[in-house]
């Protein structure tokens, strides 16, 4: 449905030097899916979104929507944003303060080349307002809405034009935490109901994990990994991805034996030999980094029996922090400290020995020098 190929966008910085905001961005979104661009601020995700929208003019590359080329540097095509028919929700919502709720939503219909009749506009607007539960507020001043209502209004305005593509630029970042959680579900339900192809930009990894069919993690203008939320979280293929999405422990390691076809290999670390998950082909003596999520480290006071496909490491409790739903342990092994997350019922005091059990499939090997 949406094909972005080798997109490069740069803009002049204050000093006149071109800043490469997005480089060689390529991805494809099937119809009806929600695709997320995830990354820290300045990673090029918003630039990529704005390039798709046509608000930025990319330097090279191609953007195709359902076989319609809206941008191609090769063919010299640049369809201006107002002729692309993409709905967009901006980070600030960009609700026009001089119009009321109804007028805001009606605007995209009124500026069409073939302007629908007044009654048609009213029907469509009220239907969309109904979908976002704002029909009661149609006559209200747009400035007198709460944050959540403004967000829904911005969404309604983007939906009323029956867009081919919905672009969402951090639509939840201006809401408070409770509302953000609720709107997350609402947004997801609406996207799934309408079956609308959507590009979603966020820096919030939990938002990305909760909403997306597929996530592209971006860093320094480039996409570093594309995958399903579970892939991204459980099988990061890059140190940056593992670090940015969720919390993790990194262990430097060297391959001892790259055995068998089951995707396992044995590596040596400062904790001794570990069995780890290898998705990339590694050879003996390759250096790599092992990522272990804190919640995948199982703690126990008694040393558990080691079964195949598991690693057992002993350490001492260095510090702990009670966080309500769980308890964070810092476990010291030699000179290294690992973070492990445990159920609050575990009450091992600081300084006492403790044992860590880690499944091999949860110890993910990531290529990279130490």
């Amino acid at each position: 449905m949406l094909n972005v190929t080798a997109l490069c966008t740069e803009y002049a910085s204050a000093g006149g030097q071109p800043v490469k905001a997005a480089q060689d961005v390529t991805f494809e979104v099937p119809a009806g899916k929600l695709f997320t661009l995830l990354g820290p601020s300045g990673c090029g995700k918003t630039t990529t979104l704005r390039s798709i929208a046509g608000l930025e003019r990319p330097k090279t590359g191609e953007v195709r929507v359902a076989e319609r080329v809206v941008f191609s540097s090769e063919q010299g095509i640049f369809v201006p944003p107002n002729q692309r028919n993409f709905g967009m929700v901006f980070q600030s919502y960009a609700i026009w303060p001089h119009m009321n709720v109804f007028q805001n939503v009606a605007f995209p219909l009124e500026v069409r080349k073939q302007r629908p009749s007044r009654k048609e506009i009213a029907d469509k607007v009220m239907r969309v307002l109904g979908a976002v539960q704002l029909e009661e507020l149609a006559e209200r001043d747009a400035t007198k809405l709460s944050g959540g209502q403004q967000q829904r209004l911005a969404l309604a305005r983007a939906l009323v034009m029956e867009p081919q593509l919905l672009l969402l630029d951090e639509p939840l970042s201006n809401l408070d935490a409770k509302l953000r959680h609720r709107m997350r579900f609402e947004l997801k339900r609406m996207q799934r109901d309408l079956n609308l192809t959507t590009i979603y930009v966020t820096h919030d990894q939990s938002e990305a994990l909760a909403l997306s069919h597929e996530i592209a993690v971006m860093n320094e203008g480039r996409i570093v990994q594309i995958g399903s939320p579970r892939d991204i979280y459980e099988r990061p293929r890059d140190r940056f991805v593992a670090d940015f999405v969720g919390t993790t422990n990194f262990l430097d390691a060297t391959v001892i034996s790259a055995n068998s076809g089951n995707g396992r290999c044995q590596v040596s670390t400062r904790f001794g030999a570990l069995d780890v998950q290898c998705d990339e082909p590694f050879r003996q003596n390759d250096t790599l980094v092992v990522s272990i999520r804190p919640e995948d480290i199982e703690l126990s006071e008694q040393r558990p029996d080691r079964i195949d496909g598991e690693n057992i490491v002993a350490g001492t409790v260095h510090a702990k922090a009670f966080l309500g739903e769980y308890l964070d342990f810092q476990v010291k092994v030699g000179e290294n400290i690992l973070l492990a997350r445990a159920h609050p019922s575990l009450r091992t005091p600081v300084g006492e020995p403790i044992h860590m059990r880690m499944k091999a499939e949860k110890c993910v090997a990531i290529p990279g020098a130490h």
Binding site: Y11, N82, Q83, M88, A94, P97, H98, T143, L167
Partner: protein, 578 residues
């Protein structure tokens, strides 16, 4: 992640993007460049020419500059101008700055009222303000002198407005409301917590005022002083009315004299004008440098801005009293003097005897004057037309400057501000020379005055437009583009409505200053194209003081009503700031 591409010239595909956007932008850019540059060029050119007479055509010469710079007269002219401008700027600053501090930073009662009142002096035109002070403090007919002389039974002249001191007093007082507004803005943009921390360190009110507030406001102080200096060195009414009769000449009055001599010495006037232009440019240049620096000093926090005011104790009644006295001297007194004078047959100081002879005769004379109707019509046409054009053009220009990344937009910004350095009289001279040379038939019509007014007030309009443009979030426009609206549609339905409060405020301001305008018009008007301010000038030249007063009273009353009405309309139809 923050560049706009709305501006990037679309790939040249005929018939698609060559639309209203580029036509509108192109027209505005050409207009601004023409208005700002062409008269300047002609002025420079003219300053190198000999006077043109019937017998002899103009020739290239450096004689104008030789004459303008070689005589001892010039030294005196320069010294006079400097003395006058510095004196007036300092006086205006001390008065305006003090009241701004009182109003912004102390607990003086009735502050809201005072702030609202501070706009009113702006509606009294300079010429009327000057005339009213002549009626008050002229050695022969001045009310102050006659009353004091009667009381003490002497013939000593107590105050003489026809002097350098008198000129500084009147001009300084006239520009003090401007100093008040400038310094109010400076105080408002200062983080009050900086003062509060001084208070917590145990400093007293005067210590805080001098060691923290004033120091922080220092760039703003210098910038305000420079603006006031430039305004004073440009001012024409005061030197012409108060200085010329006793032979105190400054640059502006010298330019006027040179043009009105026979044969008229436009070349010499141009040479003077170029000098004045240089002084004004220097002032404006340093002022803009200071203003760009002052952002480092002043921090606008925005969040929870509730300045704690200094407790003046019982002194606050004194400051309130001073404020009332100031308002009386700057607004009420001039108006009352004009009102009194307008009700007389011949100008006399107030007395019980004169009270018997009150008459509305002068009003009848003014209304019966055939040129009255023409002047009012012209003034209305010019001020409304000028304000509308200025605000529309500057809204497009400020959009280009602020929203786009078009190459050369800084140049456009500077071009729009360029007329700031033109003193009114110099601009009048430049435009006169320009359209005398270019035969497009505007010379001697009101169109030439419209051109002058638009040029002169373009920078003011730009300031209003760009300030409000900066407040409009870029995404408000982008979301219109995403909704499928074309540039023209977006501009008309989103940008202009959002700019409306700023545009209306700027429009009102330009209307008022256009109606007050005298110094450019005085070189450009001709019979049939006179405006109200010119009519006042002519009545003064003819010595018709009571008629002048009547016209002045009507003008001030009309402007006052206009401001009230405009504010009412603005409040009713303006957009609530989002």
């Amino acid at each position: 992640m923050n560049s706009a591409v709305l501006d990037a010239p679309a790939a040249p595909r005929p018939g698609l993007q060559i639309d209203t956007k580029w036509v509108v932008i192109g027209a505005c850019v050409v207009l601004v460049a023409w208005l700002a540059l062409v008269p300047l060029g002609f002025l420079l050119w003219q300053s190198f020419l000999t006077p043109q007479t019937a017998a002899k055509s103009a020739e290239f010469t450096l004689g104008n500059y030789v004459e303008a710079y070689s005589s001892l007269e010039t030294l005196r002219l320069f010294f006079n101008s400097l003395q006058f401008a510095l004196g007036a700027a300092l006086l205006a600053f001390v008065i305006g700055g003090f009241f701004a501090w009182v109003n912004e930073r102390t607990n003086t009662p009735f502050k809201a009222l005072f702030f609202a009142l501070s706009v009113i002096p702006l509606i009294i035109p300079g010429i009327l303000f000057t005339v009213s002070w002549i009626l008050l403090a002229s050695p022969k007919i001045g009310i102050i002198n006659t009353i004091l002389q009667e009381a003490f039974g002497t013939s000593i002249v107590f105050v003489n407005i026809y002097s350098m001191t008198g000129m500084i007093w009147v001009d300084g007082l006239h520009y003090s409301p401007m100093a008040f507004l400038l310094m109010t803005a400076a105080f408002r943009s200062m983080d009050p917590s900086l003062e509060e921390s001084a208070l917590m360190s145990g400093a007293t009110v005067p210590q805080i005022a001098f060691r923290v507030t004033l120091r922080l406001a220092w760039p703003a102080v210098l910038a305000s002083l420079l603006i006031l200096f430039v305004r004073s060195i440009e001012s024409f009414e005061v030197p012409a009315l108060l200085g010329l009769p006793v032979g105190i000449e400054v640059y502006t009055s010298a330019i006027y004299q040179a043009v009105h001599r026979y044969p008229s010495q436009v070349g010499l006037a141009s040479a003077y004008a170029v000098t004045l232009l240089l002084i004004a440019s220097l002032g404006i240049y340093f002022q803009s440098q200071l203003s760009s620096q002052s952002h480092r000093f002043s921090t606008v926090t925005g969040k929870g801005y509730r300045p704690r005011t200094m407790d003046l104790g019982r002194w606050r009644y004194l400051t309130a009293g001073l404020f009332i006295l100031y308002f009386f001297v700057v607004v009420a007194l001039p108006f009352l003097v004009l009102l009194w004078s307008s009700l007389q047959k011949y100008y006399t100081a107030p007395s019980f005897e004169a009270l018997q002879h009150l008459t509305l005769n002068s009003y009848r004379t003014v209304l019966d004057n055939p040129s009255f109707g023409t002047a009012v019509w012209n003034s209305l046409l010019l001020s409304l037309g000028c304000a509308t054009i200025v605000m529309l053009v500057t809204s497009v220009i400020s959009w280009i400057v602020i929203r786009t990344r078009m190459p050369g937009r800084w140049l456009l910004d500077n071009l729009t501000s360029l007329p700031l350095v033109f003193p009114g009289l110099v601009l009048g001279l430049a435009i006169m020379v320009c359209y005398l040379t270019i035969p497009i038939g505007v010379y001697g019509t009101i169109w030439i005055m419209l051109i002058a007014y638009i040029t002169r007030f373009l920078p003011y309009g730009m300031r209003y437009s760009s300030t409000s443009m900066l407040q409009i979030h870029k995404e408000l426009e982008e979301s219109a583009a995403m909704s499928g609206a074309s540039w023209g549609m977006t501009f008309r339905r989103v940008v202009l409505p959002l700019l409306k409060p700023g545009l209306i405020a700027g429009w009102i301001y330009v209307v008022i200053v256009s109606i007050r305008e005298l110094s450019s018009s005085i070189l450009l008007y001709s019979p049939g194209s006179e405006v109200v301010s010119i009519m006042i000038w002519e009545l003064w030249q003819n010595g018709q003081y009571v008629e002048l007063s009547a016209l002045g009273v009507m003008l001030i009353a009309a402007l006052f009503c206009f401001v009230l009405l405009a504010q009412f309309i603005g409040k009713k139809f303006g957009v609530a700031e989002a």
